[in-house]
Symmetry: C3
Amino acid sequence: MDRLRYGVAYYDEYMPYDRLEQDIQMMKEAGINVVRIAESTWSTMEPQNGVFDFRSVDRVLTAMHKAGIQVIVGTPTYAVPTWMVKLHPDILAVTPQGPGKYGTRQNMDITHPAYLYYAERMIRKLIAHVKDHPAVIGFQTDNETKHYRTVGPNVQLQFLKYMRDRYVTLEAVNRIFGLDYWSNRINAWEDFPSMEGTINASLGAEFAKFTRKLVSDFLSWQVSIVNEFKRQDQFVTHNFDFDWRGHSYGMQPEVDHFDASIPFEIAGVDIYHPSQDELTGIEISFGGDIARSLKMNNYFVLETQAQAFPHWTPYPGQLRQQAFSHLASGANMVSYWHWHSIHNSAETYWKGLLSHDFQPNPVYMEAKSIGRDFARLSPKLTNLKKLNQVALLLSNESLTALEWFPLPGGQIKYNDIVRLIYDELYKLNIECDVLPPSVSQEKLAAYKLILVPALYCAPDELLHRLNAFVHAGGNVLYTFKSGFSDENVKVRTSQQPGIIQAACGIGYSMFVEPTNVKLKDDPFEVGEEGNRVEVWMELIQPTTAKVLAYYDHPHWGKYAAVTQNNYGFGKATYMGCLLKPAAVSRLLEILLQETSLLRDDMKQERFPIIVKSGVNTSGNRILYFFNYSSDYMTMTYMHTPGKELQSERTVETGEQLELDPWGVSIIEV
Amino acid sequence: MDRLRYGVAYYDEYMPYDRLEQDIQMMKEAGINVVRIAESTWSTMEPQNGVFDFRSVDRVLTAMHKAGIQVIVGTPTYAVPTWMVKLHPDILAVTPQGPGKYGTRQNMDITHPAYLYYAERMIRKLIAHVKDHPAVIGFQTDNETKHYRTVGPNVQLQFLKYMRDRYVTLEAVNRIFGLDYWSNRINAWEDFPSMEGTINASLGAEFAKFTRKLVSDFLSWQVSIVNEFKRQDQFVTHNFDFDWRGHSYGMQPEVDHFDASIPFEIAGVDIYHPSQDELTGIEISFGGDIARSLKMNNYFVLETQAQAFPHWTPYPGQLRQQAFSHLASGANMVSYWHWHSIHNSAETYWKGLLSHDFQPNPVYMEAKSIGRDFARLSPKLTNLKKLNQVALLLSNESLTALEWFPLPGGQIKYNDIVRLIYDELYKLNIECDVLPPSVSQEKLAAYKLILVPALYCAPDELLHRLNAFVHAGGNVLYTFKSGFSDENVKVRTSQQPGIIQAACGIGYSMFVEPTNVKLKDDPFEVGEEGNRVEVWMELIQPTTAKVLAYYDHPHWGKYAAVTQNNYGFGKATYMGCLLKPAAVSRLLEILLQETSLLRDDMKQERFPIIVKSGVNTSGNRILYFFNYSSDYMTMTYMHTPGKELQSERTVETGEQLELDPWGVSIIEV
Amino acid sequence: MDRLRYGVAYYDEYMPYDRLEQDIQMMKEAGINVVRIAESTWSTMEPQNGVFDFRSVDRVLTAMHKAGIQVIVGTPTYAVPTWMVKLHPDILAVTPQGPGKYGTRQNMDITHPAYLYYAERMIRKLIAHVKDHPAVIGFQTDNETKHYRTVGPNVQLQFLKYMRDRYVTLEAVNRIFGLDYWSNRINAWEDFPSMEGTINASLGAEFAKFTRKLVSDFLSWQVSIVNEFKRQDQFVTHNFDFDWRGHSYGMQPEVDHFDASIPFEIAGVDIYHPSQDELTGIEISFGGDIARSLKMNNYFVLETQAQAFPHWTPYPGQLRQQAFSHLASGANMVSYWHWHSIHNSAETYWKGLLSHDFQPNPVYMEAKSIGRDFARLSPKLTNLKKLNQVALLLSNESLTALEWFPLPGGQIKYNDIVRLIYDELYKLNIECDVLPPSVSQEKLAAYKLILVPALYCAPDELLHRLNAFVHAGGNVLYTFKSGFSDENVKVRTSQQPGIIQAACGIGYSMFVEPTNVKLKDDPFEVGEEGNRVEVWMELIQPTTAKVLAYYDHPHWGKYAAVTQNNYGFGKATYMGCLLKPAAVSRLLEILLQETSLLRDDMKQERFPIIVKSGVNTSGNRILYFFNYSSDYMTMTYMHTPGKELQSERTVETGEQLELDPWGVSIIEV
């Protein structure tokens, strides 16, 4: 990537009146240098079956090009026109809620041949039409693709074939998936039941894996079509999204991001996060760490919020801070969804950079300052590289398994356990990469410390790799539930935690739900509230491990809660229960100090001050200092002297660094 | 109307044994002079297709007439017999929940020709059969008619035709309803999708308007049939109901009451309200104000509670207070649902005047005293006329729009904003009328002050009329969200609040959800709790307006919360956020004092003392004083001397007026 | 029954590897002398239509027999194989949620002829195959059978025929079920509507009765088939379960246990209960009292928990205490569900005696001590007989009726009112039997005190029997709502509480929902909190009754809350409102003291100390003392001297008896 991109999604089709020239003028003033178009306007581009009309695209391409704004063109396939659904009602995915209804986007069966036929024709026509336009720098295939919980009979039949391809015999299927239970045994392929009603978690999890594969296959197929047409200098990306819990956070349950991102040149994501008093930068950082890890390279933030919702409208300074937060995680593009606020239909209150009145407003005014600095600092800030020593191992399979077997209370899900670990790490200002379960022994070896939240479902090989990593001198932190079941969500028949017993030096065969349980003698010195144990506890007996914390309870007091074990040249720490964030933070601090990842001179660098860094194309280190609070903050700058890039002021080691509320300092050293 | 009616719904069909003579004897003793019959007994009157049996009706008519009790006969069309549904299962409305199931009432598709065929035959047979009976004073068509969320394919097809009639071209439809969004554009009429799945609020709101029209059409059709038969001296009415939130309050979302009431001689309503410690009279007053405003005339309370539910069973005195509360709002009839408590099926615990044992009980005993006074005071209290100077502008379209775009949290709906304004006005003892959006400039001119809660969705003309009203010397209070979108739920492209900017002298382009926000310096002097701002706040910048209140917040403190603007000869006040009731009350007090509607000598007249008044047929003013509390209340009577009609005692100006717990005084001056 | 059985459910089919010999060895060590097999493995035993394979059964029978462990064989009919559903999809019950989906157990229509055909063939094949095996001591038909809310068209047609058989004419049906209401009248049999949508509680309750009958018929049919084959010395039992509210408690709404248990030699039940700090023994005692009352004989606990869920894993001592608690209620068998924890599918976290690792664990170790004592004490503890003087009258019909007409708030259901009475009785250490509404006058006469919670729905005869019972010298405690409706859920037309007015000496025609109501002057001396009246109160006027408590309320203070009336030689107490447990406990104490059932020397015997007793086959009294707490408890032993059977120590009257936390003493006197 040659320079920083500052962008918006632009929908000329949705405009209440012709504003193209005015909008482009305002974009130019704001430093917008890229727009994303066309990704949800199929009914405009193909108003009737086989009738194509690219006038709206052409006019935008021409105008943008004239203004020097580049364009990413999206395939419009994630929202189907009504004529198609009228003609083929079964294009809409049958979900557990029944047949789909026309209206919303992302409601089709992405395996349906009729849909694929029309999609392919549309993609070919569109890409062929625009590929030679000089404004077009790349393509986005579809948008936020997922499987939309398609479970109709055709999908069931594909699953049967997938199972037969994979396991060959029903004997194997019955054994591996434990189908004898409740008379679920299948004794002939034609008796294979729909997964809609299955109560077998192993089979259900396999179906989830299969539907994630449908997404990878679909995207890969789209890319292959685009690739037939695109110019050498054009890229293909996709806008991946994360688990949605009112905002973007955590693994996307419906997509295997590592697998699905393979065909793309560059990873793109959307990140929507809490704002105002709840802006912490965590979601920006987490989404960025995944995005960067997908291709181990810089990435695009294809969508993020400008004004968005009434509860997200940024305070003064926040839009700017957010933009640089993305860069600090390795983004090369920050693009808003969207330019203007849409006047009706569904997303009227998901506001863009402009309000419905198209007038300059405080948020737009702030964007102008960002655009100016992006342009000016582009040579310094583009293609920031990181070399992290900590990694987080995330597993779609474990997420799915914990949906089938939720923790007591049903509130704490896989992504909450991830969050518990990630958020505390973030607040300690330790950056990390994200690894998939398929990570090789070699790749593991690049890290000093691997954090493994609730790796419930894992093949033997992965656990052996992790053991070997420790043995060779690595450090691992496991939480409860790790190693519990094999890759088919079958609980291991050995004592728990199974294969990682070797590295962890512990064993357990019982687990309970804590009531009024805490850690004995507050070992992490976090006080009454922080010392509580909740939701889940394993009754751990150390074999060779040292006990870091015991439970405090009349009946379970003899069991260990947190242990640490030397194994070969490394060390494995096991957290056998759900701790409170304060205790997790202390545990992480201990581990990070033991591994020399957290130095004494970093003590002032704690949330709400956040430090991120990387090396730029000139080989210089860029240090970002963020203040995620409404207060003025002061800290002693303990790094090599450097220059603050916004003010162009020199900063000396030991100097007091002042950070405005929701402010950022960018120092090149 | 020649005299006050005191009535009950009577179902001879539901009686466990023949009690007609006994019941009539007890009715006579209670002063009951009218009964309502037949409205839900189709299966009795037409036991099989085309077989009619009016014996149950005849026997009641005869017996009532003999006893001098008059009868309103209802068409039984709101509950269909099982033979009809067995024959034509698709008579049951398909709703968003799927095909209907037989059992409950109000489950049919009111547009289905088979249903209409049977309904018409039934109405003709019944009305022809009873019209000449001297007991019959009038008819009620159907009961609490609504559209029952009918969304089946036939209704969708009718909607398509309605759209084509109204907008002629799809080009217009696509533009007006913003269908380009998410590929919803419709490029051929045969592609018109079902509204079941629509995510387009504008189109969804149009469909809601269309289904409200179905109700008006249905009722108008029934009236036209009844009118073919009825005698000159007989009336036709309907029992309209309100939004149901555990009791009757607010605009009915499924019916346009102003439109649907046009064909009726007299408006009828049912009002069910909280009781015991929660009896305030507000629901009685609100329902009455709408009912009276529909025909700008006196109205019938066709149903209200006697004992009803365990949590509503009235305290001693409350039944009497309730009855006179209805009269005080302009009712000419108070009729209970129902005479006796039903022994089984669905409404067993919705008790009537009599309990299941048919014995005189405390509530029945109280009814006797009411019946006596109704008879005695009828010449004084019938046809009470009002001339209000305040009106509330209510909009079905805004209610629907705010269902599509709910306020943050989803708790505060349109009717809650209405309630916030109405309830505080009521407690200040200011009576008001209710106006529909179609109100003419002339009608507006009759008022001093118009209250406009959340007029989210409004055509330009209405807003211009309101501007003109202010300019000519009127006063308007708008709340937040007013003027925001046009009549098609499209947000205006001008700065907000759009057209009413002129009168309000303000502008805004941003709005946020308040957290920890209050009004600066407690401008309404309502203390910590009362001064809070919740759920919604607009960041208002005055142009010519005076600021009545600023926000108190570190980042939004420069914006105005409440403003007031002189415009022409009048004044427009704008409340840009959700205030607490105490603050609204103070704001209203200020406006009412400014407009001389609230005089100093009314200061003692505050809730729980409620004062209502009107002019009777002798041209005398009737003043009702209610005490909505369990305490004895005393107040100084500041009005013209008069006579208390219950005690026949004279009351002098300045005299101390004593009100019993849940008591009423009625003074003719 | 010749001796105590200590058992487990065993599923060789679910084992991840061949462990039969190892498992049996571990069972022997734990004293397991019976296993339950085959009840959910149809797909293993009949892998394809008509292809039978009993190898898994044979191998277990042979191995168990060799080890001296006896076997109960279950018919596998409660979980259908996939081949059957593929062939006949309509075998799955249509429920109010729509057509069933394959996967879970207990999802079939138990009236479907295809299902019955396959089930019969399976039962015949299986029983014929195993009946002569010496290990087989008995059979279990199906498992936890219920009607699974089957409501499809075929079930509706059966209901029509049932109604015609029962009521002969529609005239009767219309009258008895009050169908005129809301035009529900049926005037031809072919118009009989589906009950799916009925709003008529009387008809809905009749349909519930009909579906309970389907369960009885189905079980009776299965027994008749097994009986054709079984040896004389073999028994047939069923595993009945209770209302499930996170654990077993209360009447089973879907089954008439008294009716359904008729064909069985011995009653079997499953009882799952809270554990850890929430173990009280109440659910064990309640389930045991019903089970014992079904055949007025000893019973089997065919399933209960070993480790079960994380929140149930027993504290040390609890598994032992639970086992003897079952015996103390009259069980002759305690059998765990299940031997090993299942490694996948649905019930992975419902753990067995062994964890997933099959290793001896603390719970298994405790089972070994139980097995040892069961074997040793079997001659003393088998066939314990009880002669209770208190009985609880429970009514499925009332439970159903209160589902149709829930108490205000919807939280307190029939089984909660049962629980309120039963739990307090239990804590006072008074044992009781359970009686069905069909109880005869003679059987009633065996008791001193009958407790009647919310007998809402009852035929005249039952109420007359209860009156006669009181008249002859008996004591009855009724709660509110008793006597209210007839057997068809039609409210009685007499003053309430109808027929029992005679015995109770009270009347009422009004009832309200209490807000801020307590009992006047705290008559039960239970303090502020205990004295509150909630959810429901009847405004009772005594005729001949003495008032035990008045309401304290400004408007309802003149009405009685609790009354007592002498009638003939007995006494009827009426509790007209929902009291708090403390008040109920005091009321029960008063009644028990009046009837000499609670003696002064029992004062120390209060929960958490629980005393149960019975007479063993030697004619000696066995006294069980339980400590349901984590504290050491001491009490004075006031009974006849005896011998503690575990320690073989003699216990003298007046001696201090020490009870360990979660401990038990068993004394033979």
